[in-house]
């Protein structure tokens, strides 16, 4: 029998400072600890006098041979001190708006110190790393935008993974058979169909939204694996799409560092940036956005204002599915250029994580996607450099970060008020 003792149960309700203030203090503490760790591990952990060389140009660049050479120990120790300073500033100040920015800067310094430590005594392609950060974040961001489109109108979508996987499959098969354009259209249609399925199950039949999402993941995994084994393994020409090439933006791509990082990609990458901006403007400045948000926050109010709640939900969830379709097409046609069973491998859930980390905001989602992409890029680089850091721990990072976020340690935010709740009209 679980009875609370008087002491225990009152601890729960004790609440002397606001959550924001506690968070700020906690972030401060974390930063101080992180800074000390950086100072010792990455600073003192490096032999004195070793240089770290960061290459700032790729072989394909117009300007060659740019590099930044720096004494590894000095830089790491400096960064450690700066992180500690940042933490102390958080602990003493009450400018709460700055908490997340402090955290982001701390993360950036930490990463730089880590790379310095890893590159001490050798060379390291900084630009290559930034470039792969962008590429690795694309599917995550598309997945997160899918989730955002759905949750902003009150429907939780944990079927992003399945939507990505199924549209990657459709994209690969149709592109192999009928060409790239057909592949992309097929992927969009597949994503939209699964979006419709989610909306139909949850709106028409009031199926629990989590369960509907689980179903979509199951269906996508089962069907694509089955068809891959029964069809693609027999007719291998259906699993050989043409890889979508990069489109180098003239002039901009020649800018050192920035060019190869941002302006030498397939149009999926440009599409990602454009989509983030478009959804941001759309959500907060247009009639479409106002109505969508009202449905996600207070569907009955929207209904009484004459807005068709079900229509808005169907529309946005299907649009979200199409975004996942775009992400799936990128995965199948640009990143890998063939279909493999379970090729998403959890990236849809990283997308879900990025949506939460990005606080249901398009720009936040982009930032979160880039952070997770960066972690992934570091993990790949660390595996190549073989620096003894188990790559599993870097792979865990997005998931751990998300748990920390939902636990309210770093930046708890409000999801749309009606998120996950069916709207039942009499």
């Amino acid at each position: 029998m679980i009875t609370a003792t008087a002491e225990e149960e009152r601890v729960e309700v004790r609440n002397r400072s606001t959550p924001e203030e506690r968070r700020s203090s906690m972030v401060g503490g974390v930063l101080v600890a992180l800074g000390v760790f950086v100072f010792i591990a990455f600073g003192l952990g490096v032999e004195a006098g070793l240089d770290a060389t960061f290459n700032l140009s790729l072989q394909t660049d117009r300007f060659q041979g740019l590099a930044w050479v720096v004494d590894a120990r000095t830089l790491s120790m400096t960064l450690g001190v700066m992180i500690v300073a940042l933490g102390v500033w958080r602990l003493t100040q009450r400018a709460l708006d700055w908490t997340n920015i402090a955290l982001a800067i701390g993360f950036l310094f930490f990463s730089l110190a880590f790379l310095t430590w890893a590159a001490a005594g050798s060379q390291f392609s900084m630009v290559g790393m930034l470039r792969s950060t962008v590429i690795l974040s694309v599917v995550v961001v598309f997945g997160a935008l899918t989730g955002l489109m759905c949750e902003r109108v009150g429907i939780i979508n944990i079927g992003i993974e399945g939507q990505l996987l199924a549209s990657a499959f459709a994209g690969v098969v149709l592109s192999s058979a009928f060409g790239t354009a057909a592949g992309i259209v097929g992927a969009l249609v597949t994503g939209a169909l699964l979006g419709w399925l989610l909306a139909w199950l949850t709106i028409r039949f009031h199926v629990d939204q989590i369960i509907a999402g689980v179903v979509i993941n199951f269906l996508a995994l089962g069907l694509t694996s089955l068809m891959s084994a029964r069809i693609l393994s027999v007719v291998q020409t259906l699993n050989a799409p043409e890889r979508i090439p990069s489109w180098r933006i003239p002039l901009l791509a020649d800018i050192p560092v920035v060019g190869p990082t941002l302006f030498d990609h397939t149009y999926f990458v440009y599409g990602m940036f454009i989509l983030v901006m478009a959804i941001h403007l759309g959500l907060f400045y247009t009639r479409w956005g106002l109505r969508s948000r009202s449905v996600g926050e207070h569907p009955r109010a929207a209904d009484t204002a004459g807005i068709n709640v079900y229509f808005v939900r169907y529309r946005n969830v299907i649009l979200g599915g199409m975004i996942a379709g775009f992400g799936g097409a990128f995965l199948g046609l640009s990143q890998v250029a063939r279909f493999e069973e379970d090729m998403t491998g959890g990236v849809g859930f990283i997308g879900l994580a990025a949506m939460i980390f990005g606080r249901w905001m398009p720009v936040g989602v982009l930032g979160a996607g880039l952070v997770f992409g960066f972690a992934r890029a570091v993990q790949q680089k660390a595996a190549i450099l073989n620096i003894g850091l188990p790559s599993e721990f870097l792979l865990m990072l997005p998931y751990v970060v998300t748990i920390i976020v939902v636990a309210g340690v770093v930046g708890r935010s409000r999801p749309p008020a009606a998120d996950g709740q069916p709207y039942i009209k009499q």
Partner: protein, 503 residues
């Protein structure tokens, strides 16, 4: 020019909410629709507004039948509604809420924010509503939120406006302001339907009163001649006691003593600021005040649900400041919580399970780890009979009961033992008259048997009629103490606004 409802019938799986109801309102007329909780008023208005579709009947606006399918049709026919629970998105600005659904655009889909703000200002000024278009709705007090709802209706050019229980959240003074606005609307030629269960307000504002009972319209009354007693009898179907029937109180020893209590709310604000008072056995102390002035946190702190920042609470001489709800319950404290659906009941549970909800661990329902369901069901059956809870069996989910009967389940659970102190927070909110009488009588009986009672309610009439002593809370402090026999409603109302002279 009139809005007419003809023979509206609406059936729900278990009840007939409206049974052939007819009602009409003309331009420039105020009609009060009177009925107690559960009489079908809100259902009727939701049909009129296109939120529900009726099984039978039609609505005619200015001679044209109205398509009763969705709110858009009603809105474009000139019907506007101010709902009991405001239909406002808390994280939107006032202007965003007002234009939702009729957005002024600049270009393809781009919202004309300035146009929206100007529209709100213009309407707000014309009717003297003074709302700021750029304010965030969640930051506004309820009185202002209600005015935002009115702006919303006016911006849509409504000619007929329905107010659903509009005064439930207002102080007596705010009610006066609200009535001024309504009279202004009438002068402007609007037809107004005023839904309420408050007789006096209907008599004051309406040109005509229509009474609804059990889903049927049972008659009309002329406010110039009707009395509250007549109306009450029409509403309930039998003579109703307008006051609580009780004898002179005989206060005994101090049971509850609160000393310099300071309590924070969930957002860390000091909502109870150094409150001290005592409640003696055999007396009912009523706490009046507009919601959100610390009553909720005060009650939670006394019953062990919320930790206090400073101060002490003694119950029966024992320091309970740091005790939890179970320990306090075991001291003989009955707690009828403010929000019965959220905190009083587990809706998915059966009546029996809810009745043993805070005593399941003890004799006779359990001997440690194993539940004795036979004992629990037996005891529940007895309580259901004794407290007149209308339910077929004790093993049906409590969610299938009406609000009044759910509340009786809670009262039965809390009071069926040796009770020293009763803390009742809003125990009659959303409850029908029969159940209100039942609950009031039960509380008075507890007093007569020697319990101390702390009775918190935002219905001033109720507090005045049941209390032996009244405390008014404002801004987290006790803003005044009144004798219900001698104090006027106006005095108490002023104290509720923080401007009364403390006695």
């Amino acid at each position: 020019m009139a809005l007419e409802l003809r023979g509206i019938t609406k059936r729900f799986p278990t009840v007939v909410a409206n049974d052939g109801v007819s009602l009409s309102v003309e331009a420039g007329e105020i009609v009060a629709l009177l009925g107690e909780n559960g009489a079908g008023k809100t259902t009727l208005m939701n049909i009129l507004f296109g939120l529900y579709s009726p099984d039978e009947g039609e609505v005619v606006v200015d001679g044209k039948p109205l398509e009763l399918s969705n709110p858009s049709a009603s809105i474009s026919a000139g019907i506007g509604m101010v709902h009991q629970h405001f239909m406002l998105v808390p994280v939107f600005t006032v202007a965003e809420n007002v234009i939702l659904g009729i957005e002024p655009l600049r270009g393809l889909d781009w919202i004309d924010k300035k146009g929206a703000d100007d529209l709100v200002r213009e309407v707000s000024d014309r009717y003297g509503l003074s709302v700021d278009p750029e304010a965030m709705v969640e930051d506004l007090p309820v009185g202002v939120q209600q005015r935002v709802e009115i702006v919303k209706v006016l911006v849509r050019d409504a000619r007929y406006i329905i107010f659903d229980e509009p005064t439930a959240v207002l102080t007596p003074q705010e009610v006066e302001e609200f009535f001024e606005i309504v009279r202004g609307l009438k002068a402007d030629g609007k037809g107004v339907i005023f839904i309420s269960h408050k007789l006096r307000e209907a008599l004051e504002i309406a040109d005509r009163i229509v009474v609804l009972r059990d889903g049927r319209s049972v008659g009309e009354a002329d406010p110039a001649t009707a009395t509250t007693e007549q109306l009450a009898e029409m509403m309930v179907g039998r003579p109703v006691l307008m006051t609580v029937d009780k004898e002179e109180s005989r206060p005994g020893d101090v049971v509850l003593s609160v000393q310099q209590l300071v309590v924070l709310d969930d957002r860390g604000r000091r909502t109870v600021e150094g409150v001290s008072f005592e409640v003696r056995s055999g007396e009912i102390v009523g706490v009046a005040g507009i919601q959100g002035n610390g009553q909720t946190e005060l009650v939670e702190s006394i019953t062990g649900m919320r930790r206090s920042l400073a101060g002490k609470v003694f119950i029966g001489g024992e320091d309970t400041t740091r005790l939890g709800p179970r320990a306090i319950h075991r001291l003989g404290v009955a707690h009828v919580p403010e929000d019965r659906l959220e905190s009083g009941l587990v809706l998915e549970f059966t009546v029996a399970e809810n009745i043993v909800l805070n005593s399941y661990y003890d004799d006779p329902y359990s001997s440690g780890i194993r539940m004795d369901w036979e004992a629990a069901n037996g005891a529940s059956q007895r309580l259901v009979d004794e407290y007149d809870v209308k339910t077929t069996r004790v093993d049906v989910p409590v969610s299938t009961l009406s609000g009044g009967n759910q509340q009786k389940v809670i009262v039965a659970r809390e009071c069926d033992r040796d009770v020293k102190l009763v803390v009742a927070a809003q125990p009659t909110r959303g409850v029908d008259v029969g159940s209100i009488e039942n609950i009031h009588a039960r509380i008075v009986r507890q007093r007569d048997e020697g319990a101390a009672v702390l009775f918190v309610s935002s219905e001033l009439d109720e507090v005045i009629s049941i209390s032996d002593r009244i405390l008014v809370m404002f801004g987290g402090r006790i803003a005044g103490e009144f004798n219900p026999e001698t104090a006027t409603k106006n005095e108490i109302g002023l104290a509720m606004l923080g401007s009364g002279a403390p006695s």
